[in-house]
């Protein structure tokens, strides 16, 4: 049990660092989704199923979804700008 906890904590720290170090927002959305899942697993180890349910639905699905939608709009705007500059 202790080994599981230590492993999960180190995985969370590593995943959080990976989210910050990924500079491109599109890649970062996927890494953030993985980070949300790892946090959900950590909340299970913490014997808090309510919090884990909340984190998995929000951090692994809803938040990366909204990031992707914002990036789609930004890419559309940049595409139109590139067309105007040509």
């Amino acid at each position: 049990m202790i080994v599981l906890e230590v492993a999960v904590f180190l995985l969370v720290a590593a995943a959080g660092t990976a989210v910050v170090l990924t500079r491109d927002p599109l890649n970062q959305a996927i890494v953030a989704s993985f980070y949300g899942l790892v946090l959900g697993i950590m909340f299970f180890v913490y014997q808090a199923p309510d919090v884990a349910l909340s984190q998995i639905t929000v951090g692994a699905v809803a938040l990366p979804l909204m990031i992707l939608l914002a990036l789609a709009k930004v890419r559309a705007l940049e595409g139109s700008r590139r067309r105007d500059d040509r």
């Binding site: 808090a48 199923p49 309510d50 349910l53 909340s54 639905t57 929000v58 699905v61 809803a62 979804l65 909204m66 939608l69 914002a70 789609a72 709009k73 559309a76 705007l77 595409g79 139109s80 067309r83 105007d84």
Partner: protein, 254 residues
């Protein structure tokens, strides 16, 4: 301030702040040892007092119901802010969404995604409803179930088109659902005042722990919070989708 200088200043400040933070955190009790009496007292009396077997739900919606009301209104205000920010500006036009237009760069949705999305919509709605209504018995509640219900709307969009999503959840319905959910929370609180107790007091019959209709006002509050969170997230999804598909600046191509 150049980026390199900013990074150096931040690293110096982070070392100092980190040292203070770690020094403060060593004052906390060891991880795994719980001293505080509040949690133990709650675990022992909450089931008998409120007849709700999920003690976290009874803390969220009953013992600390006012805090949850404030959090729900932060959610409401944030969704309102997104709706205001992403409305059509003066120089933008609203065109009907045509996902098969010739100038769209997105690839067509594959049949596998459509079939799986369509097959999962029903079970996800059922699961979301289960999580919302059983929030006082098993892990779950209004917040989690509301987000699951909003995910069902996303599956409708993935397996169809934007017009399908609009037909299934018209904007008037999601707006009404979110507002009714937010207002009904206060109405349930005023029910307590009308019955002669304090605001948000648990005045409905408490029932037997483990039954679906137990714990007084907690199941109705779960329902209205689920309604509000589901409506809020569906509104967020539709606002962002509208930005990409419907609202166009002159000359923009998706």
């Amino acid at each position: 301030m150049t980026p390199r200088l900013r990074r150096r200043v931040f690293l110096a400040a982070a070392v100092v702040a980190g040292a203070f933070l770690l020094w403060g955190l060593t004052g906390l009790p060891d991880y795994g040892v719980y001293n505080g009496p509040y949690g133990d007292v709650l675990n022992r009396v909450a089931v008998a007092e409120r007849k709700a077997t999920n003690v976290v739900a009874s803390v969220t919606f009953d013992y600390r119901g006012v805090d949850t009301m404030g959090e729900e209104y932060i959610l409401f205000a944030a969704v309102l802010g997104v709706a205001i920010l992403l409305r059509a500006q003066r120089d933008e036009t609203e065109q009907p969404p045509d996902e098969d237009a010739a100038d769209r760069h997105a690839p067509a949705t594959s049949n596998a995604v459509r079939v799986v999305g369509l097959a999962l919509v029903g079970p996800v709605v059922l699961f979301g409803g289960y999580v919302v209504t059983h929030g006082h018995l098993t892990p779950g509640g209004g917040f989690q179930g509301g987000v699951v219900l909003a995910t069902a709307a996303l599956l409708v969009y993935l397996s169809g088109e934007y017009v399908t999503l609009r037909r299934v959840s018209p904007e008037v319905a999601t707006d009404a659902a979110e507002s009714v959910g937010a207002g009904a929370y206060v109405a349930i609180g005023l029910l307590g005042v009308a019955a002669g107790a304090t605001f948000l007091a648990n005045v409905l019959p408490l029932g037997r722990p483990g039954a679906l209709l137990s714990a007084g006002t907690i199941p109705p509050i779960n329902l209205v919070v689920g309604l509000e969170v589901a409506g809020g997230f569906m509104l967020l999804l539709s606002e962002f989708l509208e930005q990409t598909l419907v609202i166009r600046r002159p000359g923009e191509v998706t």
